[in-house]
């Protein structure tokens, strides 16, 4: 923090680099400033620096002076996710047990479709010639039944180095019981090539099931060098420009970690950006008294939903990224291919489809006037009156309603034999149904009733669709943060330090040794605390423990929280955990089998260290009347009553306490809210729109 004066404000910055825009949020402890700059595809470092320059300019400082006034920068990054979509990661090699060279290619027999005979194999992250094996084997209890063939390990590593690998994944059977063979291979690799990036499966995911552990380890090995290079380059540039604070990276588990942790654990930041939105939505909703929410982020190509129960975003372990299994604990974000840019088309049996093919950022929807001729959800939203044809979109883009109408009429209206407006309605409804099915999947199919949750909508068009979806699912409330368009960056500002560890321990419940369980959990907690201390000086520390449990013979576990007030689990805690397992099982699958043999498969420990809270403005309530923000009326479509005149409001002029009855449309800086007839919107004291839906 050289060169700064003590009376100057100190900033914490959240930055989320997305595909089209880089969003930023700055907090100086008293106020929050937000904005966005266009992203530089393929050059996240420059995007970050341009965001910082924009922030500096807003604060009346040049970049180097502004950088000296920053305490910490928290990044949401798409480097890892893009690496897994573009397949441009590091040249990676693998060392596995003899006979297990092809586990990654066999992928437990999984194919994404049984009837799509044209479906090709996934892109190989490691070609077969770089997948090598060594002798040596442990059994399921960790007993060495064949010693590690160290000379073979040397030979294989030498071969891989000769082949030019930059990164090495090592995954041996039962390394989650005893990592010694993997560690020995890492030591040999370090001797032979100190610069080689090595990912051990026993470090990345010490969990039973070799394919899931291997795939996760390979994704880590493949993506980490690129993330490392990006973070090191960025940190160097920032330091050169005078930055003396801490650089942190948002993780897929909803926490943040420092650069030294992040650059070795690429797989942990695969959903870095999306998790920021969930964290922010959770915090903002909680401040206004909503702890049970479903977050819905509608972007250009996708719609991401996540369920938050009792203030805790749910964690999932079932994700596939780039057709590779990623089994580290991630926020349980479910994605469907329905976004603003999703293309609508009619098949030869007159069936209307929306997505998953997208018009992408370029050329984008037909109404962008950049050469796109096929209709998208955004085009339908324009024709239906939700988007103001005279108001530039984010980034200053103007829209061409005539082009939108032409595209919809040509590709949908004529094919279905309906008017352009009816065709737009049809596109809107089909897109909504796909999004509502995603909301059902994340709630109903996991034993939750959506009626118990509020829907938090964000992303550019999320709040256009939210009230219709909420009504369909009988949800009573829609929440839209005023910062909806920069929510991931806001989340980066709000997230705490967090380490999520998992360790397999396959044991029948009746044979569970409480002392052994406590010993292992404390060991994991110690490891997590050590990792956290490497970051900023942590604040209050919270520890959460879970057991993965199942009835004997099942293949899938239920993650059960262990409620304990102390560092140790007591017999009473354990009894309660078993009861909770039966109840959770019943909630998920409509039955339980108390008395049936139960197993523990894995232990989970999350250690969370609080970061200083971002400033949350609390504004006093103004008058109920929103009249000063009323800027006109426009014809718009509503399911209840068809096209009708709606009140239009400039959201930036609305005051907390203003009450807006539907039909109404509120234009915020980069977001639009649609309030249907019979619904009411109110801006609350935390800059959160609350839309009440009569169900």
């Amino acid at each position: 923090m050289t060169g700064s004066r003590s009376d100057e404000p100190r900033f914490t910055i959240g930055i989320d680099v997305g595909g089209t825009f880089t969003d930023y949020v700055a907090d100086d402890g008293t106020a929050v400033v937000k904005g966005k700059v266009p992203s530089r595809p393929g050059d996240e470092a420059t995007s970050v620096l341009e965001a910082l320059a924009a922030l500096g300019a807003g604060a009346g400082m040049d970049l180097d002076r502004y950088l000296t006034s920053i305490d910490s920068i928290v990044l949401g990054t798409t480097v890892v996710l893009n690496t897994m979509l573009e397949f441009d990661g590091a040249r990676t090699g693998l060392i596995a047990n003899e006979g297990f060279r092809d586990v990654i290619e066999l992928r437990r027999g999984h194919k994404e479709s049984q009837v799509d005979l044209s479906l090709p194999a996934p892109t190989a992250l490691i070609p077969r010639r770089l997948r090598r094996t060594v002798g040596g084997r442990l059994d399921f209890e960790g007993v060495e039944v064949e010693p590690l063939d160290e000379s073979a390990a040397r030979e294989q590593i030498a071969f891989l180095l000769e082949e030019g690998i930059e990164s090495l994944a090592v995954c041996l059977l039962f390394s989650f019981v005893d990592p010694s063979h993997e560690r020995r291979i890492a030591a040999i690799a370090a001797e032979m090539a100190p610069e080689l990036v090595v990912s051990l499966s026993s470090d990345v995911l010490p969990q039973i099931r070799e394919f899931e552990r291997l795939s996760t380890t390979i994704v880590n090995a493949y993506t980490s060098p690129k993330l490392k290079s990006y973070l090191e380059r960025l940190e160097l540039r920032l330091r050169d420009e005078g930055f003396g604070g801490t650089l942190l990276v948002l993780q897929s588990n909803g926490g943040v970690m420092d650069v030294s942790y992040s650059k070795a654990r690429g797989v942990d930041s695969v959903f870095s950006g999306p998790s920021g939105g969930v964290v922010a939505a959770t915090r903002i909703a909680a401040a206004s008294g909503y702890s049970n929410i479903i977050t819905a982020d509608m972007g250009g190509t996708s719609y991401d939903v996540c369920l938050v129960h009792d203030g805790e975003p749910q964690l999932g372990v079932d994700q596939w990224v780039g057709r590779y299994r990623v089994a580290v604990p991630l926020l349980d974000i479910h994605t469907v291919g329905a976004g603003g840019g999703s293309l609508a088309y009619v098949d030869d049996a007159q069936g209307l489809h929306v997505g998953p093919e997208s018009a992408r950022a370029f050329p984008g929807p037909a109404c962008y006037g950049r050469g796109g001729e096929r209709p998208t959800v955004t085009d339908a939203n324009l024709v239906l009156g939700y988007i103001d044809p005279d108001r530039p979109l984010a980034g200053g883009l103007t829209v061409d309603e005539e082009a939108a109408r032409r595209a919809i009429d040509t590709h949908v209206g004529q094919a279905l034999g309906v008017s352009t407006e009816d065709a737009a309605v049809a596109i809107f409804r089909i897109a909504n149904s796909d999004m509502a099915n995603a909301l059902r999947f994340i709630s109903v199919s996991r034993g939750r009733d959506p009626r118990d949750y509020a829907l938090v909508a964000f992303g550019g068009a999320g709040a256009i669709h939210a009230s219709v979806q909420a009504a369909e699912l009988n949800m009573a409330t829609v929440l839209v943060p005023r910062s909806a368009s920069v929510l991931s960056a806001t989340g980066a500002l709000m997230a705490d330090f967090k380490v999520s560890l998992v360790q397999s321990l396959l044991v029948d419940w009746d044979n569970l040794d409480l002392d052994e369980l406590n010993r292992r959990l404390l060991e994991m907690q110690g490891e997590a605390e050590q990792l956290l201390n490497a970051g900023d000086a942590p604040g209050e520390v919270t520890v959460m423990r879970h057991l993965d449990m199942r009835y004997a013979g099942q293949v899938q576990e239920v993650i059960v929280p262990v409620r304990s007030r102390t560092r140790r689990i007591t017999p009473v805690n354990l009894t309660r955990t078993l009861r909770d397992f039966h109840d959770l099982h019943e909630g998920l699958y409509a039955f339980k089998r108390p008395g049936f043999p139960t197993q523990v498969v894995s232990l989970r420990v999350d250690v969370i260290a609080a970061r200083p809270r971002a400033a949350m403005t609390v504004s006093p309530f103004a008058d109920e009347s929103p009249a000063p923000a009323h800027i006109g009326r426009r014809r718009a479509y509503f399911e209840d009553g068809g096209f009708q005149s709606a009140d239009i409001f400039d959201g930036t002029l609305l005051q907390p306490g203003n009450l807006i009855p539907g039909p109404a449309i509120i234009h915020e800086a980069d977001t639009t809210l649609v309030v249907a007839p019979g619904q009411e919107a109110m801006l609350d004291q935390h800059d959160l729109y609350v839309i009440e839906i009569s169900v």
């Binding site: 006979g99 027999g109 009837v115 005979l117 039973i208 279905l416 089909i430 149904s433 099915n437």
Partner: protein, 535 residues
């Protein structure tokens, strides 16, 4: 779809599909036996009042569901009430083989059945001469299990205990069968709850209209594609000598005709039913044809009763593809399903010039059965057969044929901890992939260590198997575990597509470097020249 109302029906059609997938996932997670958890030999479907399949989670079972539903309807058309659960398990009455059970439950509103939910799954054993009910030597259906004609397992919300007791009495693994039925019922109850909520939200009439729309749409979509392919006829024939079953060589002859938007499959020239378990029930054959047609039409045509309307199937009773009561069918269900899908799929590929290659290949049957009752249930090794996918225009073969890729290979680590089977390795085999411009999927070597006295039942079609003690110096022994016998399976690869000489040279060289193609085969099959090989 021509107006806004039909959009509403389309939205409900998608809800049906999402629900069927969700319910299928529930069965997979909850079931007790490995045939369901890993082989994933199960399905859940939403049916209309007439047994038409509205949505199903497993395309392989479309014809099986329709057959079972038709049979249940014939038996109980005027005798179905709220709370009834109908059980079926007779290969020759709407079924496939004795060990596959199906449950059908009516969804009633105000006392009338509006829709039905059905679930079916493979059980680990339902009696017969051998443990596991897979009996290659069986000559009659009783030697491979106890047929269960349509009966009520629950009547108006009350379990019919004598039926349940009788069923569990006739299996060597009652706990597993009971657990599996519990899983099927859990999914059905969940589905019923969801469907009733849908009916309450949208009205019964709308939901029924949507069930009709779903099937009409699939039919329209499929017909449009078939019309685009025009007319044509192709005849294909196949069958196989199988290791270990004398005098039992099934012969299948299929004449496939595309005409005016429909597919006619004539199997009447097929050979007579054989005196072994290598026969198929008519329901099995119908399901295989539906699978082949669905694969030819591709993912754009929903898999439901509408697709079945496109198919005209002709068979002669008493032939191997329509073997009547009391023919044995426990192995034919697996073998002939694959063979018919392969033959009919190949004929359709030829007629449509779709370049999809063969959608299936013959499937070997390898089951590890316990020495005696009281030991863990049989283990079907079908999920290990991750090989056999043919090459197709634009892609090499990979893994198992797509239509049979539903199985989930067990985790070697979980198996070793929980079963008397140790996975010693499974690797792709050099030169096992059929050459082609787009080569087939490589074959696979699987090595398993067997402990204890388990038996291996096998019926091999083109694959190889050995079972032997390992060399003493390579035999890892553990106290009490005894010596491991080594089971070695060599699964053959998939066939190639197109002229191998036209294969991209870089792809040939990559296969050589990856150890999938030897330099000798690269020269002989792909015409690789020495100067192309490089240093």
């Amino acid at each position: 779809m021509t107006n806004a109302d039909s959009i509403g029906l389309e939205i409900l059609r998608r809800r049906f599909e999402a629900l069927a997938a969700e319910l299928g996932a529930v069965v997979g997670k909850l079931a007790r036996s490995n045939g369901i958890r890993e082989n994933r030999a199960f399905s859940v479907a939403i049916l209309d009042q007439d047994g038409g399949v509205v949505a199903i989670d497993n395309p392989l079972h479309l014809g099986l569901m329709a057959g079972g539903a038709r049979c249940a309807l014939d038996r109980f058309r005027y005798d179905t009430r709220e709370g009834d659960v109908i059980l079926l398990g007779d290969a020759h009455e709407g079924g496939s083989r004795s060990q596959d059970l199906m449950l059908i439950v009516p969804i009633t509103v105000a006392g009338s059945t509006v829709l039905q939910i059905a679930a079916r799954a493979e059980m680990p054993d339902l009696g017969g001469d051998v443990i596991g009910s897979v009996n290659p030597a069986a000559r009659e259906v009783w030697a491979e299990g106890v047929p269960v004609p349509p009966v009520k397992l629950w009547r108006e919300g009350h379990q019919v205990r004598d039926i349940q007791a009788s069923l569990l009495m006739n299996t060597r693994f009652p706990a597993e069968v009971e657990g599996n039925l519990e899983a099927l019922l859990a999914a059905i109850r969940l589905g019923t709850r969801r469907m009733l909520a849908m009916a309450a939200d949208h009205g019964v009439e709308t939901v029924l209209a949507a069930a009709g729309h779903a099937q009409d749409y699939a039919e329209r979509r499929g017909r449009a594609l078939l019309l685009r392919w025009g007319k044509g006829t192709a005849t294909v024939r196949g069958g196989s000598g199988s290791a270990g079953v004398a005098g039992a060589e099934p012969s299948v002859v299929a004449t496939v005709e595309l005409d005016e938007g429909s597919v006619s499959v004539d199997l009447r020239e097929s050979g007579p039913a054989v005196s072994s378990a290598l026969n198929a029930s008519l329901t099995t054959t119908h399901a295989a044809i539906a699978t082949a047609v669905s694969a030819a039409l591709g993912p754009e045509v929903p898999v439901n009763g509408g697709l079945l309307r496109l198919i005209d199937l002709r068979t002669t009773a008493g032939t191997v593809v329509d073997a009547g009561f009391p023919s044995a069918v426990s192995c034919g269900h697996v073998y002939l399903t694959a063979l018919i899908v392969e033959l009919v799929g190949a004929a359709l590929a030829e007629l449509t010039k779709a370049g999809t290659g063969a959608p299936a290949r013959e499937s070997s049957i390898v089951v590890i059965t316990p020495e005696k009752v009281g030991e863990p249930p049989p283990v079907d090794l079908a999920p290990f057969a991750i090989a056999g996918c043919a090459g197709a225009e634009g892609r090499d073969g990979w893994g198992a044929p797509h239509v049979f890729s539903r199985s989930l290979l067990p985790s070697a680590e979980e198996w070793e901890g929980q079963m008397a089977i140790v996975v010693r390795g499974m690797e792709l085999r050099c030169d096992s992939a059929g050459p082609g411009r787009w080569r087939g999927a490589p074959g696979l070597t699987v090595e398993l260590g067997l402990r204890g006295g388990s038996q291996v039942t096998s019926l091999l079609f083109g694959d190889e198997m050995t079972l032997e003690d390992p060399p003493a110096d390579r035999c890892p022994e553990r106290a009490g575990a005894g010596r491991e016998r080594r089971l070695r399976l060599l699964y053959k690869g998939g066939s190639g597509y197109g002229d191998p000489q036209g294969r991209d040279r870089a792809a040939v060289l990559a296969d050589v470097r990856d150890g999938l193609v030897s330099i000798e085969q690269a020269r002989s099959a792909y015409g690789l020249q020495d100067e192309e090989v490089g240093p």
